[in-house]
Amino acid sequence: MSEFTYGGEVRTMPDPDACSDAEWTDYVFNRASVPAVKREWWCHIASGYWFIVDRDTASDEIVATHGVDVLLAGDAK
């Protein structure tokens, strides 16, 4: 696995000026950590290319990979 590095799950930041303290705390600390197919950031170290992976966190199976444009297309969670 040394060629790729994990960048964490894709998460949407709430507007810090508009959200409540509870929403902000939830965003900062809490995670979706029940095993499932999750959308994650990964980086190919050799080329410095960041991309998006849908990975099953129970079986470690990669279901799909995408360019970051998939997030801009409004498909992000």
């Binding site: 590095t5 705390t25 995670r31 470690d60």
Partner: protein, 395 residues
């Protein structure tokens, strides 16, 4: 060793999810110290089959925060007379514990930890490279030339113990006092009434209870999801391996943060070795060749004479990882639901004190004073505990 009750009762005063060391210790102290014997421990596999039987059995208290040091030191004290308490040989063996420093920065951290430890009355000191060599004659101080050892933090009370026996001892002690231990009994759902715990669902039928303790390293997020709570825990695999048995040559326990190695020699002569967490979230106990190769290579940096020694077994456990490397313990936003979680890579040594403090918390409904620094609510207050001495590697 203990009874295997055929049927679950309709209700219990306390139900504990997880028959590992922590859950069984809590059951034991509930029965022994608090007179609460109407307790069921529900274990989805067999007792001690989770992280209790998968860790590398190191016991120490030279942590970095006052909260951590006080808590683990109480645990070390409890460990020392457990074998008497259980009438069972735990192979508790005080070995001394070296945290090797390969850089000036690591020496600075060692001094910091030693001063915090000494201030709180813990035996802990910084030693130089020559003293490391005197106490571990087989070590290559140059580490093959790429990570020379500058010195170490030495913690005399560092110890190892036989981990399965800890689960058996607590289990037997609890069983003799009336606690029921149900193996092969997975909790599949939690019933709430008006936001408070009312019972659990199992494949063997429902059980009513108003007090539920969750002590399920690696499965914590799944249990919390049953009551609709999100938590700051990620699951990462932690791998370990043992060598073939060798004649005794390594007395102390050795940790190197820079080389990502910890190692001790068991009573059977095997070298018990671990490294850092796997680098990404995964709910699996699979092993990797990557791990065995890199750990072996770092072992050879420290002890080149081991090059012909074979690896016998390799395995993994699932670790709850919190953002501040401190556990999450005590009461929760859900009434009647008590949590002993977030134990990452450092839960085994804390088994007795977790049992003690969680039994107090479950019996009284109020967090024990030793665990207030580990409260669920610390995240909402943005008051993290910052236990950088927790994981022995990777800082």
């Amino acid at each position: 060793m203990f009874r295997q009750p055929e049927k679950l009762k309709d209700s219990y005063e306390v139900v504990i999810i997880g028959g590992g060391g922590h859950g069984l210790a809590a059951a034991y102290y509930l029965a022994r110290d608090h007179g609460i014997r109407d307790v069921a421990v529900l274990e989805k596999g067999y007792i001690g089959g989770g992280n209790t039987g998968r860790n590398t059995t190191i016991i120490r208290s030279n942590y970095l925060t006052a909260e951590g040091v006080r808590f683990y030191d109480e645990s070390v004290r409890l460990w020392q007379d457990l074998a008497q308490d259980f009438d069972l040989n735990l192979f508790y063996s005080t070995r001394g514990h070296f945290t090797l420093a390969h850089t000036d920065a690591a020496m600075r951290t060692s001094r910091w930890r030693a001063e915090v430890n000494k201030h709180l009355g813990i035996a802990s000191e910084v030693v130089d490279a020559a003293q490391v060599k005197r106490m571990i004659p087989m070590i290559d101080l140059s580490c093959g030339g790429h990570a020379p050892i500058v010195g170490a933090l030495y913690h005399g009370p560092g110890a190892i113990a036989r981990h399965d026996a800890v689960a058996w001892g607590y289990g037997r002690g609890a069983d003799r006092r009336g606690v029921e231990i149900h193996q092969n009994t997975e909790v599949t759902g939690i019933d709430l009434r008006d936001g408070a715990v009312a019972g659990v669902q199992t494949p063997r039928g429902p059980v009513r209870t108003r007090k539920l303790l969750c002590a399920v390293a690696g499965s914590t997020p799944r249990i919390l999801a049953m009551i609709g709570l999100r938590c700051p825990i990620y699951i990462h695999p932690l791998q370990a391996m043992v060598s073939e048995p060798l004649k005794p040559w390594l007395d102390p326990i050795i940790v190197s943060g820079s080389l990502h190695v910890y190692v001790s020699q068991s009573a059977r002569g095997e070298l018990v070795m671990g490294a850092s967490l796997d680098p990404y979230e995964l709910h699996s106990t699979r092993s990797t060749l990557d791990f065995a190769e890199s750990l072996s290579s770092h072992m050879l940096d420290l002890f080149p004479f081991l090059s012909e020694v074979k690896i016998n077994r390799q395995w993994a456990g699932m670790a709850d990882i919190t953002p501040d490397f401190a556990p999450i313990m005590g009461t929760t936003p859900c009434e009647g639901f008590f949590l002993d979680a977030g134990w990452g890579t450092w839960g085994f040594k804390a088994t007795p004190v977790c049992g003690k403090t969680m039994s107090h918390t479950v019996a009284s409904g109020i967090d024990h004073p030793l665990i207030t620094g580990f409260a669920w609510s610390r995240f909402a207050r943005f008051e993290l505990t910052g236990e950088k001495g927790a994981a022995s590697v990777g800082h």
